[in-house]
């Protein structure tokens, strides 16, 4: 019996301001299931352990192959994507909670708008003259590509923010992922042109000084982005900017 049933407990709430409560569901265990398919099973039979028909659990998901970043939640206390959380690996007793660092909209659905806002602040783009035909891009070595590509796999999932003790609801820290994006754009042959503007931004409020070096971020990143290296890179550029920019007055506006 116990082997053929998955027991899932979900922290639910009907609205952002509503009190959270726990609700349990039992779902038949089949091979190759992940947390998404457990929740889909609840959608098809939304009856809780007390036998009451309820609204299916609300959560965010899309690609189901750990590349869109949508389905991030706390699974048995650990922040990760629901799609790549396989029942055969995590066991048949499952606890699901929404991430704690972002406003909850309903059940497991959270609003990560703050992460996208951060990308505006740090100028997370390459300034190109336009989308018309302007010939080939800058040459770049294989080594440069191999450094930048892993940094560029960040899917804005929020795992690093959830795990970071210095990223708090309503706080100022832009987040480990944002520092990584500063590195990504500051290492691009054209993106580099704006490096001082980006560094000045992260030398200010919510920037690199907010990192307490707990290194939790790199532990939870599902894409294994070298976040600690990126934080160190940003620190180095900040020092460089301080020396050559602020003190010597070079490159000042």
């Amino acid at each position: 019996m116990a082997e053929s049933t998955i027991h899932v407990r979900v922290e639910r709430r009907a609205r952002p301001d509503a009190a959270p409560y726990w609700e349990g569901f039992e779902v038949p265990h089949r091979p190759m299931m992940n947390v998404i398919s457990v929740l889909q099973e609840v959608q098809r039979n939304p009856v809780n352990t007390e036998g009451k028909k309820v609204l299916p659990v609300v959560w965010e998901c899309n690609c189901l192959e750990e590349i869109c970043g949508a389905c991030t939640m706390l699974i048995n206390g650990r922040v990760r994507q629901a799609c790549s959380a396989l029942v055969d690996q995590i066991g048949t007793t499952i606890t699901l909670e929404p991430m704690s660092k972002f406003p909850v909209l309903r059940d497991l659905l959270v609003d990560r708008a703050r992460m996208f806002e951060a990308q505006k602040k740090i100028i997370a783009w390459v300034e190109v003259d336009g989308t018309y035909a302007l010939g080939p891009g800058p040459r770049s070595s294989q080594a440069e590509q191999e450094e930048r590509y892993p940094l560029s796999k960040c899917m804005t999932c929020g795992c690093c923010c959830e795990a970071c003790p210095n990223y708090t609801p309503g706080g100022d820290f832009l987040g480990p992922f944002a520092m990584n994006l500063v590195r990504l754009f500051n290492t691009h042959p054209t993106g580099r042109n704006e490096w001082r503007r980006r560094i000045e931004t992260v030398m200010g409020k919510g920037g690199i000084a907010y990192c307490g070096k707990s290194q939790n971020c790199v532990e939870v990143c599902p894409k294994e982005i070298p976040l600690v290296d990126s934080l160190a890179f940003v620190n180095r550029q900040a020092v460089q900017h301080l020396l050559t920019g602020w003190i010597l007055g070079a490159g000042r506006k």
Binding site: A14, R15, R30, P31, M32, M33, N34, I36, S37, Q40, Q43, R44, N45, P46, V54, L55, P56, V58, E60, C61, N62, C63, L64, E65, I67, C68, G69, A70, S84, L86, L105, R106, L109, R112, F116, Q119, K120, A124, W125, V126, V128, G130, T131, A133, L134, G135, P136, G137, S140, S141, Q142, E144, Q145, E146, S152, K153, M155, T156, H188, G191
Partner: protein
């Protein structure tokens, strides 16, 4: 004629934040137009993110004699001559500059030792034409365009409405689109947007087939809603089944064609009862059936052909692994460091979801529904030489004036079968021409949407409120997810690789039942706030509308062409069916109409992949 419209005072709406929507937005912004960008999900999570293998562009850095002319011919040939040829030509000619642009925007494309863009092989060609960023090219392209749009967003020229569901185009008394109504999927509220033109870039409809390689949002809802309003839907029956996906309880995860582009081989044991570990089966006891049956292109035959062969080997010849629905996709002969550099992303997917390292053991795969070649009918304007007229307001225009469509939600570029790595290209190219087309259209307006009466917008919101209330208040005990599962299974079983009129007529009959049940869905909670079950019920109704178009279109087309294969009509029949299917919504089912295909560039010929070079004969001067 009328007053002169200043487009920098215009406001346009783009629905969908994948590659096509983002590129449309960029083009509108560059022309000075303000844009409201609506998306079901934060745009960075759009389905474009799932594309793996790469984007085609005939840059010919490998000295193989490739060119946009060859690319055009191979795309038309790969699509079994159903695509209108001028748009395909336009796309292929623009491709090198598109890839250069993406490179300039920061996409970390793989490089050659000299620091140039690297290109790999893909299906349906003998040329290295596919630029790639590992095996997560779609993700990298999406991020680059997302970043480009964010730049305009930071300046206030783009306003994003993420987690919004398109409900209806708002049409004025003359049938012209002057805006739209949409629902905020967070609080459930419904509001309208005034827009001087609207572009739908809302992706495909594969979720009609239940579990597929697609993201969960790909229900085709926006196209379905526009279809109900009178927009023509074209070639709906052409659905691409990708040959290599891994099974899962929630979805069928794609294993990119690039695996074969980099040398991956498809095989089954010669003895279906061979229970040995695949690594212990010697080469001479393996059956590399694609290489055997298609010596010219081998494992890189187009997807429709590869899927059909795998289906045949497993279902008809009973030669699948262990007699089941599975074949090997083998990469183990390729050095692990090459695999990591070029295919890292998909290897991780296989490892994470199956728990086996594909560098060491062959993967087990089976075909899965992947892409819709069909979609909203859109127009184009070409000159006498088959060149697309840049900036023509007809380009990418649907049959509803002022409503445009770009990307997988429209039908324009792939005919009866899409070649791999042409989808990212078609999305971006369509965006590149829809933006300027909308600008031209808006310049020619006599009045902007700001002058349209408020009652049009209030009326649309009121109608949609009423419909949503009906969904919330319905009784009858039906569950939308259960109905969806049943529909998906039937569509998958009978309307994919092999189609028969008898089985499809049965599915067509069942659609009535599902539709009737979809109107009797009980939602346990009438709260509007983030009520996903209620939203999904609306999507289900849209999917049923599209299922009807797909099935009826397939029943009518008594021939085999590209992805549409009927064993009872195994040949392509150009005399009767070299034409575009056009479906128009009607209460008692869609009405069908057909229009000739523009074949002004590559004359149709028999499509075969047995012999190398067959796909590029005309360009190479051999086919006359």
């Amino acid at each position: 004629m009328g007053k002169k419209i200043d487009v920098t005072k215009c406001r346009a709406a783009v629905v969908g934040g994948g590659l096509a929507g983002l590129m449309t937005t960029l083009k509108l912004c560059e022309a000075g137009v303000a844009v409201d960008l609506l998306s079901l999900v934060p745009v960075k999570r759009s389905h474009s993110v799932c594309a793996q293998g790469g984007i085609n562009a005939s840059v010919n850095t490998m000295g193989e004699g490739d060119s946009p002319t060859v690319h055009t011919e191979e795309s038309v040939y790969g699509g079994d001559f159903l695509a209108n040829q001028p748009p395909v030509k336009g796309m292929c000619e623009a491709a090198p500059d598109i890839v250069y642009l993406l490179d300039r925007m920061g996409v970390p494309f793989n490089r050659t030792p000299e620091g140039l863009l690297d290109f790999r092989l893909f299906g349906g060609t003998k040329f290295h034409r596919t630029a790639f960023a590992g095996a997560t090219t779609g993700q990298q392209l999406l991020y680059a365009l997302d970043e480009g749009v964010r730049r305009f967003e930071a300046r206030g020229q783009v306003v994003k409405y993420e987690m919004f569901d398109f409900l209806t185009a708002v049409l004025d008394g003359t049938g012209r689109c002057v805006g739209l109504a949409a629902q905020d999927l967070r609080d459930g509220s419904i509001r309208s947007f005034r827009a001087d033109s609207v572009c739908l870039a809302t992706g495909g409809c594969s979720i009609v087939f239940g579990r597929t390689t697609n993201s969960t949002i790909n229900t085709g809802i926006a196209a379905a809603r526009a279809f109900r309003q009178g927009a023509v839907y074209a070639n709906g029956e052409f659905i691409q089944v990708h040959p290599t996906a891994i099974p899962g309880a929630d979805k069928l995860r794609l294993m990119s064609e690039s695996a074969r582009g980099e040398g991956g081989r498809i095989w089954v044991p010669k003895d279906p009862g061979d229970g040995r570990d695949p690594k212990d089966i010697p080469d001479k006891e393996r059956y590399y059936f694609l290489e055997d049956r298609y010596p010219g292109y081998g494992n890189l035959v187009p997807r429709d052909i590869a899927s059909r062969e795998i289906f045949k080997v497993c279902r008809h010849e009973k030669r699948g692994i262990g007699g089941g629905d599975m074949v090997y996709l083998d990469l183990t002969h390729i050095p692990a460091d090459v695999l990591d550099r070029k295919l890292g992303g998909i290897l991780e997917i296989y490892e994470k979801f199956v728990g086996v390292d594909p560098r060491k053991a062959p993967m087990k795969v089976f075909p899965a529904v992947h892409y819709s070649m069909g979609g909203l009918w859109v127009d184009f304007e070409a000159d006498g030489r088959g060149n697309i007229v840049a900036g023509s307001p007809r380009n990418q225009a649907t049959s509803i004036p002022g409503l445009y469509a770009a990307g997988e939600c429209e039908y324009q570029y792939h005919g009866a079968n899409r070649l791999g790595a042409n989808s990212l290209l078609s999305c971006i190219y369509a965006g590149m021409i829809s933006g300027p087309a909308m600008v031209s259209y808006m310049k020619g307006l006599e009045a902007t949407s700001a002058d349209a009466p408020a009652s049009l917008f209030d009326g649309a919101v009121e109608r949609e409120e009423k419909e949503f209330s009906r969904i919330l208040d319905a009784e009858g005990g039906e569950n939308p997810y259960v109905i969806h599962s049943e529909m998906g299974e039937a569509m998958l079983d009978h309307v994919t690789v092999e189609r028969s009129n008898g089985a499809m007529k049965e599915v067509d009959g069942r659609i009535d039942g599902w539709m009737e049940r979809a109107l009797r869905v009980s939602i346990a909670d009438r709260e509007r706030w983030s009520n996903q079950a209620a939203f999904f019920t609306r999507h289900l109704i849209g999917m049923l509308d599209l299922a009807r178009v797909i099935v009826r279109g397939a029943i009518r087309r008594d021939e085999s062409r590209g992805a549409h294969f009927k064993p009872d009509f195994p040949e392509r029949d150009d005399d009767r069916w070299l034409k575009t299917t056009k479906a128009t919504y009607g209460k008692d089912g869609p009405a069908f109409d057909y229009e000739p295909v523009n074949i002004s560039i590559v004359p149709p010929r028999k499509r075969s992949y047995a012999e190398a070079g067959a796909t590029s004969k005309v360009s190479k001067g051999e086919g006359k």
